[in-house]
């Protein structure tokens, strides 16, 4: 009796959920889509989202409304996306932080990455470069490691706050290179750059696009890049992996991805993934992203899932190390 009642309930539930999904197969999307971005209008993640959603809206034949919900390093954008009730029409773009390190850094996060968020597609990645003032004692990475290794905390670096990409990358680098550097947190890359130029701090990891101008102006120099292969937007900058005692698999990249709330129709996720990959293959889109310092990525939803798991592990270990130090 109980079993058949439960079965009936499940059946009813399946029916309720299945009916709209079936209807959508024919007509999705039948109304505008909403994409949540956890950063303010005009910020780099916002511009990136617009570069992708403009052509996506054209492909889908429906407008895509960008919902800027800034705050807490992008976490609020994901929370708001998950709170939106409009299933199959609510999506988001996010940087790596809220998907990998936020569960460690933000108490009361309010979501579980694995259970609540469905990856759609990796949009782009950005390596970081190690920057020092033009008159810094060392001219290459080996010299930098020697200088930093002379005494603990003799060389300082700036980041954009605890747990930021710049902070974690510098700590990963220190760990792998066997040095200890003094961490000075700032709130923006522009502040870090100014502090390095003003000789207030020695170094910092930042996006190549944030540093190149100063290299051309002769006030900063770049010692290496954290990607596995050289980066077009940072011509002539050597890859760090395998140099100055760093392991060959050394890699630290920021990324930006298109996501959906868990429970979004599988067919819709697959369609969006295919459409986004087509858009990312367009050289014009690639150029616009490259101008902002992003390298187009693409790939399947499963590959993005894999990336989230891997990065959560890598950065989790770095956070363990930071926590152990304090």
């Amino acid at each position: 009796m109980t079993i058949s009642r439960r079965a009936a309930l499940i059946g009813a539930a399946v029916l309720t959920f299945a009916t709209p999904a079936l209807a959508q197969d024919a007509a999705w999307p039948s109304k505008p889509l909403h994409t949540f971005v956890g950063f303010p209008a005009g910020s780099s993640p916002d511009l990136l989202a617009r570069i992708v959603t403009d052509p996506l809206a054209a492909t889908l034949g429906q407008p895509i409304v960008i919902e800027n919900k800034p705050g807490a390093g992008g976490v609020i954008g994901i929370q708001q996306m998950l709170n939106a009730k409009d299933q199959d029409y609510t999506f988001g773009t996010t940087i790596n932080g809220p998907m990998t390190t936020a569960p460690r850094l933000v108490p009361d996060l309010g979501y579980d990455v694995a259970a609540d968020v469905a990856p759609v597609a990796l949009i782009a990645t950005s390596p970081l470069v190690l920057v020092v003032a033009a008159d810094f004692v060392a001219d290459d990475l080996a010299g930098f490691v020697t200088a930093a290794g002379a005494e603990p905390e003799v060389v300082s670096y700036g980041s954009v706050g605890k747990g930021s990409g710049a902070h974690l990358t510098a700590e990963l680098f220190s760990d792998r290179a066997g040095v200890e550097m003094l961490h000075i947190p700032y709130t923006s890359y522009a502040e870090v750059t100014t502090a390095i130029i003003g000789h207030e701090i020695d170094s910092g990891f930042m996006a190549p696009s944030a540093a190149m101008q100063y290299v051309e102006a002769g006030t900063l120099k770049i010692l290496g890049i954290t990607s596995q292969v050289p980066f077009d937007q940072a011509p002539g900058v050597p890859v760090m992996a395998g140099q100055a005692g760093l392991p060959d698999d050394f890699r630290a990249e920021l990324w930006n991805a298109f996501i959906a709330p868990a429970g979004t129709d599988e067919a819709i996720i697959n369609k969006l993934n295919a459409d986004i990959n087509v858009i990312l293959a367009d050289p014009a889109v690639q150029k616009r992203l490259a101008d902002m310092g992003w390298q187009v990525a693409g790939g399947t939803a499963a590959e993005l899932q894999q990336r989230i798991v891997e990065d959560t592990e890598i950065w989790g270990a770095v956070l363990d190390r930071i926590d152990a130090k304090n």
Partner: protein, 496 residues
Amino acid sequence: MSGWEGFLHGLSVALQPEVLIYCVFGVVLGTFVGVLPGIGAMATISLLLPITYYLSPEAALIMLAGVYYGSQYGGAVASILLRLPGTPQSAVTTLDGYPLAQQGRAGVALFTSMTSSFLGSFFGICVLIVLSGFLSRAATAFGAADYAAMMILGLVAASTIGAKHPAKGLAMVVLGLILGCVGTDVNSGAQRFTFGQAELMDGVNLVALAMGLFGVAEVIANIQVAERTGVPRRIAMRDLLPRREELKRIPFPALRGASLGSFFGALPGTGSTISSFLAYATERRISRHPEKFGNGAVEGVAGPEAANNAAAISAFVPTLTLGIPGDPIMALMLGALVIHGVQPGPLMLEARPDMFWGLIASFGIGNLLLLILNLPLIGIWVSMLRIPFRWLYPAILIFVCLGVYSVRGAPFDIFAVALIGAIGYALSLARFNPALLLLGFVLGPLIETNLRRALLISRGDPMIFLERPISAAFVAAIAALILVSVVQSLRRVRPA
């Protein structure tokens, strides 16, 4: 290219009809959104951002900048007439502007504010042309210790302005400092007083705080008042203009304010807030009638308004030449530049002279337009005061909600503004001045981060504040200021 040559070249860019029309559009729009309580330049610029895809980079930036400084003119209108400042800078304007309006002399306050804003901007533009190189070097020369010392000076100098009782003024500053602690600690990542609310992780929303303490509190306070008194039924042009002796009291305070604004505005962070408070404190200190301040002193409007407009101009120096945005609106401007493939930074002056000088020339044109536009509008703004309260106040509340929501689209902030409004009302009953709370709120977190950063850099050695010449100068000024106040109060206790 020298500064003046550059400026002339810029005029040739900014006076092109297709650029000029966007400049006009920007400043007119800016004035109106500035007047509407709560809906500021920030929301307007974010809405306009997607449209700029279809414009030339010069036209786009000139239009957005027009909205920015145009809203400074409009913001004074809401502060003076309704005690509704959208920013901490215009909160200073309420100190004497609103009493003037209550005395039926809103026109005088508006006239003072418009002309001083214009003088301030013009001064700022001249400084920019002559000294832009120096200002951008000054911005890199300032380290954490210097910022910390400078902001403490601002806090000490301004912490008793606008308060009849110094102790009440200090209480407000301290409350502001405490509120400023809310949010994520930059150094440790620890959550302070956020009570598990993700909306509080970046701190209390500044617009919600300003709107609640001033606007909503004012609406609550007026519920018991039947109708406004002291507003003339018909306004003659004569009543709009200041008396001759008042007119004489505008230029010098405006010039002093403008010099403070031009210098502090170029320092990223809180330049314009500090400069308006400092301008007010300076005017009160050197005035022969300090008791008039807070009761409708013209100088109390002229100084700060000139300062914040001059600062709005010189704030473009670090934004364009260093790529360091001083506030969220400047960050938005940077975003607009990046959309158009222009990377602001040290190379901008050489790489994009059209853009740089075109923008600066457009400041001159735009401010002239604003003065021409706003002087005739004074009569219309003043007649807004004749709108019956039953229409005016509900409308204000709606705009406040829209404005607060537009900052980051968080319903949380609307509840926050209601709660802060109730607190603001209680504070005004007890005759506390909320402008000082805003000062503490804005400066507190910056003092804290810079102080801690300076000590981290010096590996814990406090001598860094005396070893660096800039910070040593500020420390000396702080010491002198405290010494003077102590001596003055001792003299008052025991008359010689």
